[in-house]
Amino acid sequence: MALDELKIGGMGASRRRVEDNRFIRGKGKYVDDVVLPAMLHMEILRSPVAHARIKSIDTSAAWEVPGVRLVLTGETMAARNLAWMPTLSYDTQAVIATDKVRFQGQEVAAVVADDPYIAKDACSKIVVEYEQLPAIVNPDQAKDSSAPLIRDDKVNQDSNKIFDWEIGDKEATEKAFADADVVSSLELHYPRSHPSPLEPCGSIADFDRATGKLTVYMTTQAPHIIRAAVAMVAELPEHQIRIISPDLGGGFGNKVPVYPGYVISILASILTERPVKWIEDKSGNLISTGFGRDVYLKGEMALRKDGKILGMRMHTTSDHGAFFADAQPTKFKIGLMHSTFACYDVPAAYLTSDGYYTNKAPGGVAYRCSFRVTEAMFFQERMIHAAANDLGMDQAEFRRVNLVKDDMFPYRTAFGFLTDSGQYAKCLDLGLEAIGYSSFKAEQEEARKRGKLLGIGISTMTEPLGAGNSREYDIIGIKMFDSAELRVHMTGKAILRTGAKTQGQGHETTWAQIVAHELGIPADDIVVEEGDTDTAPFGMGTYASRSTPVAGAAVAMVARKIRAKARKIAAHLLEVSEEDIEWELGRFYVRGNEERGVTIQDCALAAYSNVPDGMEPGLENNAYYDPPNLTWPFAAYICKVEVDPETGVWDVLKFVAVDDCGVRINPMVVEGQIMGGLTEAYAMANMQYITFDEEGNCIGANYIDYLLPTAWETPGFELHEVVTPCPHHPIGAKGIGECATVGGPAAFVNAVMSAIEHTGVRNVDMPLMPNRVYDAVRNGQDVSGMPPVRVD
């Protein structure tokens, strides 16, 4: 009698994504598709230099261009106390430069005009006189005592250092090293990259003087945080601010921070009393918005001869650009870097970190990783690879010895995280079997006879996804819980709203599946809406793979509240006491008399037409969910490559991914996430990086220099699954959105290293471009740091 869950699009159904209907027809509605009456257009003038004092700005010629309505400079902003704004890491950031420019691409002025062509033309008429200062482009330069002070705007800031931070047990770690038979060490750089969503950032600010209401259409992954930030920065009453995040063309963390362009467009609308649209171009997005990585990592591992890890110490030095604007939980300065080695039984660990200002774009964001976890796991798996080699142990065997065993959960890591579930060895073994690990050595021998170098690389990791519990996780003081609101209509159809914000993850599809699972309402009967702060319940938004762990849990919880009320209605309709009611998917029935029952739709109708005495009519509710812990998915990624030693070109022969993200709501959507994440991992390993020349010019502000892989070169991926339900999540799900980006890069790099390390090479820093691999093989030497830029 119960419904077939797969048929109604419930849990486990690979239901087609409902949002794709409009996306593939070109009917998505992005910020740039929104056209308001009498709307003006804004263009930003960006600094051509990285570090310079602004001697003068002459905007008179720009004002004279016909169609120009407003020209804004730092002075305009300063007059309204808006020249600077707070960042998400308790620093300040210039909205429009007043004193100095501190990175190439920084906002120097803005023009508002009747159309974007006029605005762009007028920008070119603004004359700025710069007095150039030496540019600082890496932490080594920033540390130098003779380095110019980048943040001379800050009181009490007498160096370019932002923070020192430490975590772990220093003494216990020192003892572990004293007891070690072998100490292995590694030093590497995770290059700066950029999330580069297809849609750049933009906003349309619409201030209505008559009502006092400010409506802003904005490319944001976290509309409610933005509303709070706007209320604080612009000193507007929060109830008069409405942030609408319509369809987003990708985010990947890039659309979490508050950007100057948003703030400038808001002021421009207040001043002109007309809607003002600002749409960043691609170069503007790449040169000025939130980047990922740019961390130097080094560490040592204390090892016993039999392969047991005794301890680990590590230091990170991070480059944050001109303003410390990282989007991350307040409590941690370098994100969740200390989640490193969480899947291994490491008795003692100690991590120190320092961070620096440089003349580069600010706003370190979690580029498809949960707050610096990508760097943490990359270092972990490169270190594990190096340590196994130093011990002369097989890569898989070394991992097997040290991975946390199934019976050790809940397991407290040396840095204090509590991992709660997993079948690590099973995932690893499944991956090894799929890639044909046992026959690899013979294959490698055979290939060498053909002049080709084969390599195999493993990356195993668990990562903390789903920030987070409110004891530990907040952003600018706002706790990281999330919410859902469900209204079931009279005919049993429903609308669900959450505080998350889909940007390609498929919430419109998968949230409905959770409701279908809990209530038996077919997923097709449920519409999902997100992104409008006037209608959606409060939430922290979508990033850090937190939607399913937090908002998804809230969806299940609100559906259960609805079911509880429906049960009372069912008892009323069936004229029995509530205790005699049983539930099966989509239907209540009388215990012992299965034929006598009512459907959830019957209960919905009764909620509006026939409620028992004393019951409030209607069938709607909301739920706020504060997770007890993070979720801990596990992944084993194994890659086999062939390196051409004459050119350094490497090809992926096979890539196997085994992911355990707990219960899968929609397997197809999960697989899509993994495929996309592995593509980005391949990009990191191979080609995708941003660098700067010594003058601070950004090399990577266009798609000629900043390479995104296409379908043409991206290898195929073979996916496998293991399911260990999350013990605390209402439907047993764990985060998955970022696992592959986080764990993937080390699999590629370890594979290439495995192919070439017989020449004496220990490390080639990403990107593993052919020339770097060739140089390493030819010279038998490591290749470190960033590729050079043209000097002539």
Binding site: I704, P788, V789, D792
Partner: protein, 291 residues
Amino acid sequence: MYPNRFDYESPTTVEEAIAILDRSGGEAKVLSGGQSLIPMLKLRFAAPATIVDINNIPGLDYHHVDDEGNLHIGALCRHVDLEESTTLADTHPTLAAAAELVADPIVRTRGTFVGSVCHADPQGDWAATMLAQGGYVVAQGPNGRRRIDMGDFVLGPFVTALAYNEMAVEAVIPGASGTPRGSYLKLERRVGDFATASVAVSLDMDGDVIRKAGCALAGVGGRTIDANDAISCLVGKTLTEDSIDQASDAVAAVAEPRTDHRGSDAYKRHIVQTFVKRILTNLARTEQKAA
């Protein structure tokens, strides 16, 4: 991405196009496939007063081989037309090998061979194949047509010998006097990336003896590198390990690579040498199989 203001003209005959160019006094730019010009307009690197869109001129989208074996490519022949040709590999194997390596599939659908040659990017693929095979451009101006050899056509990066009132109407690549053999190899970091290094080799064979040899390089200098003299050491010889080594060393020696983010000068020179060797070794294998 908003370009500067420009006038748009859409002539329907070559004569009309030339008249517009003539009137513009050097401020006009011809639009064919637009795969380089449009991005440059959007980035405001190029700001012509007038765009002369030749896409509505009928009869320019041809490519055919004449009775003497010369390949004629019209100004509106798209890269994909050459890529999909079933006969090009027999008559002009170097071009056929390059056809599938030009940019990416999207660009190849729209971009044109002649437009690419006129763009005169030192990293352009077609310019290298033209130079290796003694190709020339047919330019038409108010006073008629003239022939400009590929070696004389490019004056510098993005600068050609075309007068402001001339339009390149056709590219011609001579046929082989013997059996045509050749190939094109390119190292790029990603499809559509500019070449780290690329090598075009074209041979005319008489049996297993090389009658004529041509070679040109892209990506390894401030211009397309003419390596025809360097590879001429093969003329009169057969493809042996020794002759191949000699030729690949000679060609690598004339490359003018610079160190940049795509690799060191030494690396790029090494790639040139490796690619020449690979092309010739493969051709030698093909010859052996044929024999």
